[in-house]
């Protein structure tokens, strides 16, 4: 770690702190069976709707399951879907974006048109429609999010590649007789990596939120698998009698997305701060 980075991190303590929180959430999700105080599927009707207490730090739900444990397991699904959706949307986006920018011409026109069409569709509605008609499950949700989400990436990647392609050093590399493929791999792609990271980090929150929204509407992952959105949905009826049931999953959702957003923001600042030396 060089001095400048150290300086940057020192100035952005909050980002470091949030990154730590995010790591904690991630670790909790990965090691859920060891971290969770109870079995998240264990129904205990005698203990239904218990308020937060020592044995159940976040209380229990209507079936007497430990909310904290369900949130920890729910983190697995939320994060898994967030990462996978981002990764696959990113893959399609980078592929289409670079192909469009690299080849130009008719390929560019077609891809740009596809991007425009996708972006003009009402995204959540289309995602809802897809999850309604296909057999529900993680895969359906992933496909739905991907279909709706790839275009945003593709557009950003395409414009970044085009702008980098126009830079002097790329032009000189081409003049020097390097093959286009090599220039692409060696000069262009490395330069869009920071952009990819920043967009991904800002986007992952959106995907997590979309999955939660689908679960909130009762679509998506089948019960008894816990998801944050689903936990909020099934506690809406109990908001008055047992407010903790909706409160904590919502906080988890908000905090996670907050972390991703702020870290993405800080990465952007960092790239600006470091200038072209990245």
């Amino acid at each position: 770690m060089n001095k400048k980075t150290e300086h940057f991190l020192r100035k952005n303590k909050l980002a470091v702190f949030l990154a730590a929180i995010l790591c904690l959430i991630l670790l909790a999700a990965v090691f859920a069976p060891w971290v969770a105080p109870h079995d998240p599927y264990e129904i205990n009707l005698e203990k239904a709707k218990e308020p937060p207490q020592k044995a159940y730090p976040f209380g229990t739900d209507a079936q007497g399951r430990c909310i904290l444990s369900r949130m920890i397991y729910g983190a697995r699904i939320s994060l898994f879907i967030g990462f996978c959706a981002t990764a696959s949307a990113l893959f399609i986006g980078v592929l289409f974006g670079t192909v469009a920018a690299y080849f130009g011409g008719i390929a560019d026109n077609i891809i740009t048109f596809l991007i425009d069409v996708t972006l003009s569709l009402p995204g959540l509605l289309v995602a809802i429609a897809i999850t309604v008609v296909f057999e529900p499950g993680v895969l359906t949700v992933l496909i739905a999010l991907c279909i709706v989400g790839w275009a945003g990436f593709a557009r950003i990647i395409r414009s970044s590649v085009i702008s980098i392609k126009g830079q002097d050093y790329v032009a000189s590399a081409l003049v020097l007789g390097l093959s286009r493929k090599l220039v692409m791999l060696k000069y262009v792609l490395p330069n869009i990596i920071p952009i990819i990271f920043i967009t991904a980090s800002l986007r992952i929150g959106v995907f997590i939120l979309s999955e939660a929204s689908l679960s909130f509407l009762g679509l998506g992952i089948s019960p008894p698998e816990p998801t944050w959105g689903g936990m909020i949905a099934s506690s809406v009826s109990y908001v008055e009698t047992a407010p903790w049931m909706a409160f904590f999953p919502g906080v988890a959702l908000a905090v996670t997305i907050f972390c991703f957003n702020l870290i993405g923001d800080s990465m952007k600042d960092y790239v600006n701060f470091m200038g072209n030396r990245l």
Partner: protein, 306 residues
């Protein structure tokens, strides 16, 4: 300029055609039979078949498609399977509500966002700035449906100030507008901050300062005028997306808008209604974008479209 507009319009028509084809095939080629939404629990299979054929569901898909396009060119969006009403009429009936909510939310978002953004930018790095940045990122991060619930608990149940659901006098719109607008407010605050700070660093501002103009005068006369362009873009695009109905907000608050209508359509597999609402949403969105692009050149004469 003229050429630009024509090109955009042609592109818009192409995009809409693509969307029609896409959504149409989505509704017809996927599994799922809509008849179950409108027959009861004791329906004989003969009735099921009759209903299917009455709605043209047993025609070959291409025939259904061209029939739909033909009707569409005549300005007919078809009839809802479930209610039998013309889809166009259903959407037009709900649109004023959606418009009301979208505009209110946007006014709230713009005012709050600009205020936060300006506060931030006036003293970058300071305590207020950091607070505003946190608030705006929180606004982006909070799930809409959860935020709506929390607002209902606080303002309807605990305080009893505002109604929690439905339509009525202007008190009914406050909570949904807050819920819907928060996200935009947060984005506007961020964009305002960045863009004001960028403009602040530019030569003409430094000159103005050197001339000894007052701080407020510089802020409002020189900086805001130039910094607002991206903000206006954002407002336009966001408004466009609100106008095609905000499913979650409308569901939570029982707001009788296009989003709610679309959701009902999807849940009932009411194909004409799904087509209609998606098409309508895309149409509004495309229009909003074209308007934003055109207005761009008015705000900033430097932007030209060749």
């Amino acid at each position: 300029m003229k050429n630009f507009i024509i090109r955009r319009l042609v592109l818009a028509v192409l995009t809409l055609t693509a969307i029609i084809t896409l959504v149409f095939s989505l509704t017809r080629f996927i599994p799922g039979d809509p008849v179950y939404s409108f027959v009861g629990r004791r329906a004989d299979s003969d009735t099921l078949n009759r209903v299917r054929s009455a709605y043209g569901l047993d025609d070959p898909v291409p025939a259904q498609f061209f029939c739909y396009i033909g009707q569409l060119l005549k300005g007919n969006l078809g009839y809802s399977y479930v209610t039998g009403q013309p889809v166009g009429k259903l959407i037009i009936g709900r649109f004023p509500n959606t418009l009301k909510l979208a505009l209110t939310a946007m006014v709230f978002a713009t005012l709050t966002g600009l205020m936060l953004g300006l506060l931030s930018a006036s003293n970058p790095g300071g305590a207020i700035d950091r607070f505003c940045v946190l608030v705006s990122i929180s606004g982006i991060s909070v799930p809409v449906f959860w935020f709506g619930l929390i607002l209902i608990i606080i303002f309807s149940n605990l305080l009893g100030w505002l109604p929690s659901s439905g339509m009525g006098n202007f008190t009914y719109i406050i909570l949904p507008a807050l819920t819907l607008g928060t996200r935009s407010a947060a984005y506007i605050a961020r964009i305002t901050r960045t863009s004001v700070m960028e403009v602040m660093g530019e030569n003409f501002v430094i000159t103005a300062r050197a001339k000894g103009l007052s701080r407020n005068r510089i802020l409002f006369k020189h900086i805001l005028k130039n910094a607002l362009i991206p903000v206006v873009t954002l407002i336009g695009v966001d408004l466009g997306s609100y106008l095609n109905g905000s499913v979650l907000t409308e569901t939570i608050f029982g707001w009788n808008g296009v989003g709610n209508l679309a959701l009902t359509g999807i849940m009932n597999r009411d194909y004409p209604l799904i087509m209609g609402t998606v098409l309508f949403g895309s149409f509004i969105f495309i229009c909003a974008n074209i308007i934003v692009d055109i207005s761009y050149s008015f705000f900033n004469p430097k932007v030209t479209y060749e």
